[in-house]
Symmetry: C2
Subunit: 410 residues, 2 copies
């Protein structure tokens, strides 16, 4: 029995801080009940970056999120077509965390692999097999050329640079490079430099931040999270952002002795801001209190925008998708005795917009949404937050292994 | 006036957990008072790795710590002579954090630079200058070839591979490589592989973990922390460990609205264990409670050895040096009105031993010590903890800028 509770209304809440505008979702009570037995049960929430999503391209962004939800593996939409770095190369960051084993895998500044998160996933899986020969500890984080070699040695196909860069990403690179050259020509002395930096901030802030991420939960309440990013446009070669870093890009933690809830988080935005606030883990910790919405809002306000670690920043740019689940008693009128899984899912961002999609496995239909800051709210200083609730009930026939993402190496 | 309270006696405390042996330092009351005016005031604590330090080489390890304390910059003892990776290359990780600005700089898998922490430091300093041309966000973490290029472009001299590897590190590489080849030859089937892995664990555990780190405080109570590591012997190329990772290798945070104490932490040990517990930051947070010794012991017990993130590990290997400071009223018999700075310094490890050194700037004499687990305690399952207290009083003449580590780029 699935009772998908869609987002039904959005209201702007009065804010504690004058800088913060909160958007709250009021969740409608379920109005449809549908029994589906023997099917896969689970829920996936994806994002296609927190940044600026123009109205004219809204359809394309939504399509990306929809496809990401519907794929067996939702972690396939980064790598190819990423931003190019200063030298015109693509270097990607990606990571994945399994809430059941608490294992983690990550790659940074990785070139030549179409889906970097598949390498992160493989690192996680290999790490679960225990020590290497001669007692060596398996790596959980590889970067650059070494990460590429490891991937190819483990059978992950290489992708020539000519295919990695798309026409779109190459055109953006040329445009950005021209802008940079012009900016540097004009910056002839320190005063002009400072002015230029300030005047260009808005320009940079409104650029698309092309991270892709996903959080998932299966019928057992096992959670996982992943994130993949090509990083900022014209970044310095070798720069690694939040998508590769433990606690910063994604987090997943099953319910346990100290955790009443299973939680999964994936982040997007300005890598340096997300790293210095260890935002994914911070959100996960906060979500152990009762009111998920309030907990996430306060985290975005106090631990992100208001973080002492970002006190000198003009604006703090980022977004998160979060999912938390817990078992609850079956509905009184349910024919099944098994408890249902309550899944709360939320997204929150300080960027102008964030594109998300979500789907339950039985449903098979992805919903997509572009969340925007309310009119007048200032990106980098305001928080938008939305979400919904979904109930999942285990089907009668379960597979013995409910592992979410290790299929490929088992 | 300096009242250096040395470590005077060590007693083994009864432990709450049967697995944990605690060693506590009882600090003698000061018996000497010495007035020194107009001199630099500050305190530095360094480590030369948590791992296994043989009695036969104790003198050498202590000498390294002593030299590290006495240098103007204490962050100079990693890079050259590091462990070689599987391909016989040296790839280093290093990071640094400034407790005043809360800025951070890090490099990972960096080759060809003698002192990788100098690049991390330079990244931190450059990051403090604000945005780059065209509004680009300056990187705080660079890896591999990109990090090397950035360093050289910023005037940090390159060091040829032939000089980076020392006779000692090359000999260790050849020895380890032979061991590995032998191990892989013997591992003909899965059962043998498993046996071999188990029997080799001890061997690996007892290897020296060659991280170097430092925590410092100046007369204003500003703290900083740094760490530098060549990583595990025979690591996979591109593997990045805790020394490069935010929250894992080092942490420094000045006193603030929510922090009664300034804290600085630097870690050493098995990178993967230190990463998955975000140990440096965890220690820093814990040290905000009154009893520093108890807080650190509990953190090592519950958040490191007992961490759910390392539940599947046979032994959890690591060590930390920590320093915390707060202002306190001047001694009643003091001729000065300025409050003194109380500095508590501690080290704790689950490895067989840890080599540390500490010094106050006015003192000029470094004390060194090899801390060992008590007889019978099991490495990876037991905690050793020791430390001391020192009072610093600001000299009459102060320099206007008390920045600890940004001298080179100001």
């Amino acid at each position: 029995m699935i009772m998908e509770k869609g987002i039904s209304s959005v209201e702007v809440l009065p804010s504690k801080s004058s800088q913060v505008t909160a958007v709250k979702v009021v969740v409608k009570e379920p109005d449809t009940k549908q029994t589906q037995r023997g099917k896969r049960v689970g829920f996936v929430l994806v994002h296609a970056g927190a940044g600026y999503h123009s109205e004219s391209k809204a359809k394309e962004y939504k399509h990306v999120c929809k496809r990401a939800c519907q794929k067996d593996s939702p972690f396939t939409n980064a790598g190819m077509g990423s931003n190019l770095n200063l030298l015109g190369e693509i270097e990607c960051d990606a990571s994945i965390m399994d809430g059941k084993s608490l294992n983690f895998g990550a790659v940074g500044a990785l070139s030549g692999i179409k889906n970097p998160v598949s390498v992160a996933n493989r690192l996680l899986c290999e790490g679960q097999k225990g020590k290497l020969s001669a007692g060596r500890i398996p790596p959980c984080f590889l970067v650059g050329e070494g990460a590429y070699r490891w991937a190819v040695d483990h059978g992950i196909p290489a992708c020539p640079p000519g295919i990695m860069a798309t026409r779109f990403s190459l055109a953006a690179f040329k445009r950005n490079k021209r802008k940079l050259e012009l900016a540097e020509k004009v910056e002839t002395d320190l005063i002009q430099l400072k002015k230029r930096r300030q005047s260009n901030e808005k320009e940079n802030d409104s650029g698309t931040l092309d991270t892709v991420g996903a959080v998932v939960v299966d019928q057992e309440g096992n959670v996982a999270a992943a994130v993949s990013s090509g990083g900022l446009a014209l970044k310095h070669p070798g720069r690694v952002g939040q998508a590769a870093l433990y606690g910063c890009g994604c987090w997943a933690e099953n319910t346990g002795t100290h955790n009443p809830y299973s939680t999964a988080v994936s982040t997007s935005g300005c890598g340096e801001h997300l790293v210095r606030t260890i935002l994914a883990r911070e959100c996960s910790c906060a979500l152990q209190t009762e009111d998920a919405h309030q907990a996430l809002l306060e985290t975005m306000q106090n631990k992100f925008i208001g973080s002492p670690f970002l006190a000198n920043e003009d604006g703090v740019l980022g977004g998160v998708i979060v999912l938390r689940s817990c078992r609850c008693a079956a509905e009184p009128d349910s024919s099944q005795e098994k408890p249902t899984l309550l899944v709360e899912f939320l997204w929150s961002h300080t960027t102008e917009s964030m594109c998300v999609g979500y789907m339950s496995a039985q449903d098979g239909k992805a919903k997509t949404h572009i969340s925007r800051l309310p009119p007048g709210a200032v990106a980098g200083q305001s928080v938008a937050i939305e979400g919904g609730v979904c109930r999942l009930e285990s089907p009668e026939s379960r597979t013995a292994d409910s592992s979410l993402h290790c299929r490929e190496c088992e």
